[in-house]
Symmetry: C2
Subunit: 223 residues, 2 copies
């Protein structure tokens, strides 16, 4: 009953697809026609076997002795990532980080359209930012109804984050990206990812600490 193209794709692979996607975009821009797993791996900063295995989860899109057709593969990866669909994004919290995200060109460049900015601070409501008016929290439901928010970004202080998550879920948002430095929980069926800036620094601090302590082999690349 499941439509034929339905394969199970490991999480680790999913998290690399966007990197391949970016590399393929660049190749496409440079009008490169085909690419080997070896060279794609180099661009993506991984090894070739991994690229081949990852891509094999999407299907057999390569040609032995030749490589992968850039245009075709780009299309398949972008379809797999759901980038052929419109994904309206809402940002909740327009402090430092929220405003920076609202103005960040990388989102638009990757096809993510920001449709709503929200903040609980009345002094920020009404303010224009990135071409949108900042609205109060209770407007989330309305915007969700009108524009269909696909992804909600939480950029409020830790103390408000869970409440905002609840509001988003309530409004029907099923994908959430949390920037607040706190663990939040969402019901089954809602995807949640987090970005915690201080945690990244702390992890770097750990390895630096280890190097200073003279424990060797503690070096590169922890992403």
């Amino acid at each position: 009953m499941t439509p034929d193209g339905e394969r199970r794709i490991p999480e680790a692979t999913v998290s690399r697809l966007p990197i391949y996607y970016r590399s393929l975009l660049e190749l496409s821009d440079r009008e490169v026609a085909t690419i080997s797993s070896e060279r794609l791996a180099e661009m993506a900063g991984v090894n070739a076997a991994k690229v081949r295995k990852d891509l094999s989860f999407l299907g057999s899109y390569g040609t032995r002795g030749v490589g992968y057709d850039v245009t075709y593969l780009l299309h398949e990866v972008s379809r797999e990532l759901g980038l052929t669909e419109d994904r309206p994004v809402a940002i909740v919290g327009v402090g430092n980080l929220g405003s920076a995200l609202a103005n960040y060109k990388g989102f638009a460049a990757r096809g993510f359209r920001i449709v709503g900015l929200f903040d609980s601070d009345p002094s920020k409501q009404g303010e224009m930012l990135a071409g949108l008016t900042v609205r109060p929290m209770d407007a989330i439901a309305d915007v969700a109804k009108e524009d269909g928010i696909a992804i909600g970004i939480i950029a409020v202080p830790a103390s408000e984050a869970q409440r905002v998550a609840d509001l988003l879920v309530e409004a029907g948002v099923r994908s959430i990206l949390n920037f607040a430095p706190v663990v939040i929980s969402v019901p089954e069926g809602v995807s949640l990812r987090k970005v915690d800036l201080a945690i990244e620094l702390q992890i770097l601090s750990f390895y630096q600490q280890r190097r200073e302590a003279g424990t060797p082999e503690f070096s590169s690349s922890h992403t």
Copy 2:
């Protein structure tokens, strides 16, 4: 010959230590004296066995039948993360994101002191931001010499990112956090982590796509 406390800590554990640290800080604020792995796990959003195994890599700091002493454990975790040392941070690129990071209170709150802001755009140089003057790129080496930059944050466009990484490494910086949406490479012995905002949205888009396509079981929590 290795000083006694030297255990090998799995990467996955390292990446969770900051979350335990945050939970412990909160418990400490609330003046909770001891905590069980069960309750700490709940706060950190992981399971109890994982907490116990993770903490056991640091040493046997718990008491059977009782739990972990919050103050003691907090101290051990923060020492392990190297948070007892000063870790001067430099931010390169003060566009939207870089300025937001410069003003982000979460860094200071976690003991990361920003000591330098740099930008290649002459029109930004001299500008004051978060109490610091924005300086040209070639001042990185000077600041590194004077203040000893522990961590460099790259918040420039993709096209400049590798060059900035090279400059930082050259100046002796051994920990780099890259926000530019591009793969950069650093020599052995330099830690590199990345945060890519568009990639996070794309991963969420993947799972949303899957749910819409009616593949069940594709739901919660991908961090």
